[in-house]
Amino acid sequence: MSRAGLEIKKVQPATAWASVLQIAVTEVFEMMVGTRVLPLEQSEVPVSSEVTAMVGLAGKLCGALSLRCSAHTAVQIAGRMMPDALPDNGNPSQVFDAMGEICNMVAGNFKAKIACLAEGCLLSVPTVISGGDYRTHTLVDSETVEIQVRFEGSPISVALDVQS
């Protein structure tokens, strides 16, 4: 991307980014959800997209970080974050709020661990999609770094899509 007087050199994913993303996710869940998540090589069943939280990144890295899980898992996550405030059946707006914040923190934590991204890469406000019957299409070539973790027995997918 370039504009008169402004040039931003884009950063492309490195082979270590999957490990960094894993650490970023683990830290966020331990500190803010109070739960240890375990890495999954590959989920035995496809990861549900009933709830998807996304945060855009712009600047040195252009793309999006998404976090997908089942609706039940999303309610569990929100319940752990707000044990005194969330009804057992899950207030949808608070569940989406919680998922958006988790995704936001994972993105920020990941970005902070990559030296070249700490400066010059901004995050958007989160977006949360409910309902799993969708597909995303990027209009430019992109590369994906994806990990899966197990949260209380259920799989969660965290993917970083980076525009080439």
Partner: protein, 127 residues
Amino acid sequence: MKKINVLIVDDSSVMRKIVERSLRQANLEIAEVLEAGNGAEALAVLKARPVDLILSDINMPVMDGIEFVRQFSGQSTQKIPIVMVTTEGSESRVVEALGCGARAYIRKPFTPDQIRERVAPLVEVMT
């Protein structure tokens, strides 16, 4: 230690609850917690209610945290400590926030211990 009134500014109601819980887990003596969803709401709250401590996010709609700190520091003669609590951890943003009047900066995710380390000294000075 005197009990303090705290204003928490974040567009996420979930995060506001988490910050409040972390403050209590950090053994801070809290009388009342006020909340605002953005900087503009926070300025309106502060016109009506006195507080002893403010914790604010940066990335918020309507008015972000940096602008909120800039406007509040410019308007108010009160020396209320403002602590930024945010995912934005870049050095430039930290410098910008501190330059506008914030007294400390905590990056999300955080632990109650980190809250205590940053906030307790500011509260002890006041009380």
